[in-house]
Point group: C3
């Protein structure tokens, strides 16, 4: 991974065989990012798993053939002292169609380019919401 | 809604049953945002209406079942002294497909997370274009 | 094209018949942008060409009817002393479906609104990767 900053704005380049969201966890840990957003991400993945929340669980769909990473959006927070990444993606298939949803995992093919905007004075958290059964972003965690 | 800033960069969290674009109108009004962009938005909607501009009007498609909000992009301007929001979205369906277009309305399910970048020294407007029959963004309105 | 800045953040408005990526090349040249990202882009295109990388070449699909520009993401670098633009897009069709991939070209219909975030202290490059047969972003070019 390459990661360069201009103030609180970061550009990242992921290399072949790096994985999402793992590379973002490593980025957040290495640079102490406790609050941020993935504003854009494009590239190519050699495989990926997209999921749909059906109200009680994520229903996955695994794509084993290469796809274009056409849109990547997300948030960076903390949960249990570790980086917590939430990503949604639109993947472009060979027939120029789209597969879209929650990105459970992706394996970088050619490359992935990402713009990450951070909030250096903030700390986002992702506590587990018992009622809903999922972790949900909290922008103003109790101090 | 939660909304936290770091300079001119905002992260927003919308709660269940909040609506788009209404929540962004409220955000812009409350914080005096007269020029900005929705750089990213993800989450889950319990219902939404997507539209396609056919050259003379928006042709809507109403989705009554929950969808993933996979991509949200937009601009914040003013029209007639009120916030004017323009949003496009990619929605992920239960079969991991995509519905895409102009977002007329959305009703938040689990949550929506948004990154909004503002231009504090600018004032965007959205005057009605008589020839085209739509309101169009103007970045340098006459002063 | 209109282009207004607030620090290193730019909002762009493209007018009917302007083209992508040409308008971004012109923008980068005029304002000396040597490193940046297209964080969001929405609007309407009267025609566009989307492509899928099949491992050795881009397989294009030309859309001759108007589409919504629902998501636009990209990077701005330099190659051979000229701006080098990499764009991916999700296009919304009349049936509210999506066509997604690498955006080879687009012709603006009603308008296109774009948010571009730049890195004034950086210089990204896009050298040709002989092994892969494509140009790939480099965030830390040799000085």
């Amino acid at each position: 991974m390459q990661a360069v900053a201009d103030g609180s704005r970061w550009m990242l380049k992921l290399l072949p065989a790096e994985r999402l969201p793992d590379a973002l966890v490593e980025f957040a840990r290495r640079h102490g990012v406790k609050a941020g957003a993935v504003a854009m991400g494009i590239g190519q993945l050699k495989e990926a798993t997209i999921a749909f929340w059906n109200g009680s669980e994520y229903v996955p769909r695994h794509l084993e053939t290469p796809v274009e990473l056409v849109s990547l959006s997300g948030s960076i927070a903390e949960a249990d002292g570790e980086p917590s990444i939430h990503l949604h993606a639109v993947l472009g298939t060979a027939d120029h169609g789209a597969v879209a949803g929650h990105l459970l995992s992706g394996n970088v093919g050619l490359l992935v380019e990402m713009l990450v905007e951070t909030f250096p004075d903030r700390r986002f958290s992702r506590p587990f919401d018992e009622a809903l059964g999922v972790r949900r972003l909290d922008l103003e965690p109790p101090t």
